[in-house]
Every structure is written in C-alpha cells, then in structure tokens.
Symmetry: C2
Subunit: 236 residues, 2 copies
C-alpha cells in the first residue's frame, strides 16, 4: 500500500497500463541520472518498490531496451547504458539537422501565442542568470526545453516531433546538467544563440534560422561531448 502510494505519486498517467507507467518512470530515472550508468535494474526489486508483479516490470524493461536506454543481458538482467563523446556528437549532428528543419518550418507557421511563449522562455532564460548555480542551471534547462518545444510545435510536423523526441531521450539530462552547471559562459553563449534564432524565425529568414539552429544544437552537443570525454569516469 505504501508502495502503491509511491507509484501513484510518481506516475503521471493513470489510465495507462502498468507497463506503460513503469516505462515513463524508469525513463525519467535514467534520463535524470537518478540511476547511474551501468547499474542493474532487477525485476524483483522494482516490482516490490512499485507494488506490482514482475510481469509488467519485465515488459517495461524490454521496451526500455528497445529504446536503447538499457541493454538486456540474457539471464543476467537489464543494465543502464551510457554514451561516449562520439555518440553524443553523432546525435548532435542528427538532431541539429532536424531541429534546423523545425526552425525553418516554424518561420512560416508560428502564431502569436507561440511567438509570445518563445520570447518569454528566453526572458526566463535571462532571469536565471541571477540565481544561484544549481537553481540557475535548473531554470535554464527548463527555459531551454520550452524554447525548443515551442519551435517544434510551431513547425507542425508530428513525425518530426516524434523523431526529435527519440533523439532527445537518448541523451540523459544529468549529463547536460553537469556540463552546463556553473558554466555561465556556456549558458550565455546559448542565450545569445537562442536570441539570434528567434530573430531569424520572426524575420522569416528560413535559411538563416535553419543554419543557426543546426549549429546551435551541434555546439551544445559538442560541449556535452567534450565534458563527457574529460570526465570519462563512467561505470565499467
């Protein structure tokens, strides 16, 4: 019962099946870095923690494996996957391309509400510079997400959104967090790039918006990849 409370508290969607809910929770845990790279996820432990049987846990782990979050070692269990700097650069190249497309599409399709949210996110961005380090990074990351989400929404291509979602989920948040935390030089650079992108979109300069966005994503992933390479103290 206490377990079910934990489940209720942590789960967003109630109507979905247990496995779907578990997928969401475990994704969050991996992306947030709450469970470290290389950790084993055990059926029994998770089942007990969430007050369910091993069956939905197994299903969830298989889906996570299919999504690349964990690797299933036969008869051994599911282990959380890590990424190399090389992986991160590759992902940056792919995602940069797609977010560039989104920015170009957004030029023609963005509406007033979205414009407002885009510029607002970037105000929040600015304000976050005055906060303490962790709060700053936290707020910045939210503003960053909002900025990209609005543009994606404005682009109005469902499959594009889906595909970028897949790529976003490949990169655990805590790595980006660790890269940007307390590095206000990087954050300011990001801010400047966002402003330039927003400007290009509002001026409906398709090619500029595309190029700037594309570079922006690649720059960002390059910084993260660099951090990962430096701090390559990953679990074996």
């Amino acid at each position: 019962m206490a377990d079910e409370l934990v489940l209720d508290k942590e789960l967003a969607v109630h109507g979905a099946s247990l496995s779907d809910q578990l997928v969401a929770v475990l994704q969050r845990r991996v992306i947030s870095g709450e469970v470290p790279i290389g950790a084993w996820l055990r059926h029994e432990a998770l089942a007990e923690e969430f007050g369910v049987s091993r069956t939905p846990v197994r299903e969830a782990l298989r889906i996570l494996a299919d999504q690349g979050f964990v690797s299933i070692v036969p008869n051994r269990g599911a282990r959380v996957n890590g990424l190399s700097g090389h992986d991160i650069r590759e992902i940056g190249q792919v995602r940069g391309e797609l977010e560039g497309l989104a920015a170009a599409l957004a030029c023609d399709r963005i509406n007033d509400d979205q414009t407002k949210r885009m510029t607002q996110s970037w105000d929040a961005f600015r304000e976050s510079l005055d906060e303490s380090q962790d709060v700053q990074t936290e707020r910045w990351m939210r503003a960053n997400d909002e900025f990209h989400s609005v543009i994606l929404e404005a682009a109005g291509n469902h499959h594009l959104t889906l595909t970028i979602g897949v790529l976003r989920r490949r990169l655990p948040h805590n790595i980006s967090f660790a890269t940007y935390a307390g590095n206000s030089r990087l954050i300011k650079k990001n801010l400047a790039e966002h402003e330039a992108i927003a400007k290009a979109i509002l001026e409906q300069d398709h090619e500029l918006a595309r190029r700037l966005m594309s570079e922006h994503i690649r720059n960002s992933n390059e910084a993260i990849a660099h951090w990962v390479d430096k701090n390559a103290a990953q679990a074996p």
Copy 2:
C-alpha cells in the same frame, strides 16, 4: 512441434529471446502488408501459431506498440496501424532531411567498395526495367534499398542510421510496392534521380548531393502519399 518448425523457419536470430524474435517476425508481417491495416493481433492465436505462451507475445506486442506499428486498445488488444497521406508526407520531409545529411557526409567518406556497390545497385536498377511487372518492381525495390543503405553506411554515423531505420520502418513496404508496381514512369524518374545523386556524391558536391537526395525522398513519399489518398479504401 510443427509450430516450432514454423518459428524456426521464420526467425533469423536464434540466440535472442522469444519476444525479440516475435518482434522481428511481426514487424516483417506488418511492413510487408501480410497482415492488413486494422487487423487485430490476438495473444492466443499468435501464441499457438508459434508454439509459445502468451507472455512473450504480450511483450512483443507492447514493443510493436511503442514503435508505432500497432495500437493497444485497453482490454481489447493490438490493432495494426495505418498511415494517412498526410503522415507519409510528414515522414518524407523528416527522412528527406536525414538522408540528405547522409548524402552530404558520404561525399567525404565513401570508399571504393561502397562506390562500387552504389553504382552496381543502380545497374541492377536499370536491368530491372526489362523484367515483367512484379519482378521488376521487386528487383527495383531491392536495388533501391541497397542504394540508400550504401550511402548511409558511407556516411558513417551510427545514430543517423538508427534514426533513419525508425523512419523507414514507419512506412510499410507494400504501400510503396503498390505505388510503384507497374508504374515505370515513376521508376524511371527514380532511376534518374539516383544517377544524379550518385554523380554529385562522386564529385564531392556536398550541397548538391544533399539537396538532390532530400528532394528525391520527398518526391518518392509524395508519390506514395498520392497513391494512398487515391486508394483510401483503408480499414476503418
């Protein structure tokens, strides 16, 4: 036992878990159009057919649902998904962008072996024009796959390959087949586009290769989308 024979014959990988093997088989069936859009996939029937219990079938269906092949209706089962013309155009835009990137990358990275395979595929392409309609389309589709696969391989970005794979799998083969079958005008157009792309890659004209490939994919998906819109006799 007879059932297990069927399983063995149809399954490629033997070491993998039953659910993984089932995922592969069912993906093939959906992509090939062997099971029609809107059809229900039943646990019991599949379990019996493959001589396994319902548990691995359930796991496989959940993974297929996560990949978008089927939709799981709570307490009702898994139903094979179809795509609208709009979906196909959206996918074309996304995939065009990424294959364009692949072509641009391939300019610098393609090696002799890959060059040979690329031009060979396009010879096979040409030869297929002399065959009977179905054989022609069949051979053409294989040549087409080979052409794109080689370029992707030459691009040398693993995550790009993964991502395009996801997009490819979203579009059942039988729809493309139906679109191109017996339409040698379309096939010839495709051939011409392939030749132009190959030429651009070999001349290391990054921007041209990118643009041609991108347009090529969008054209192709446009033709398919058009066919789907015309023949919108899809299951309800």
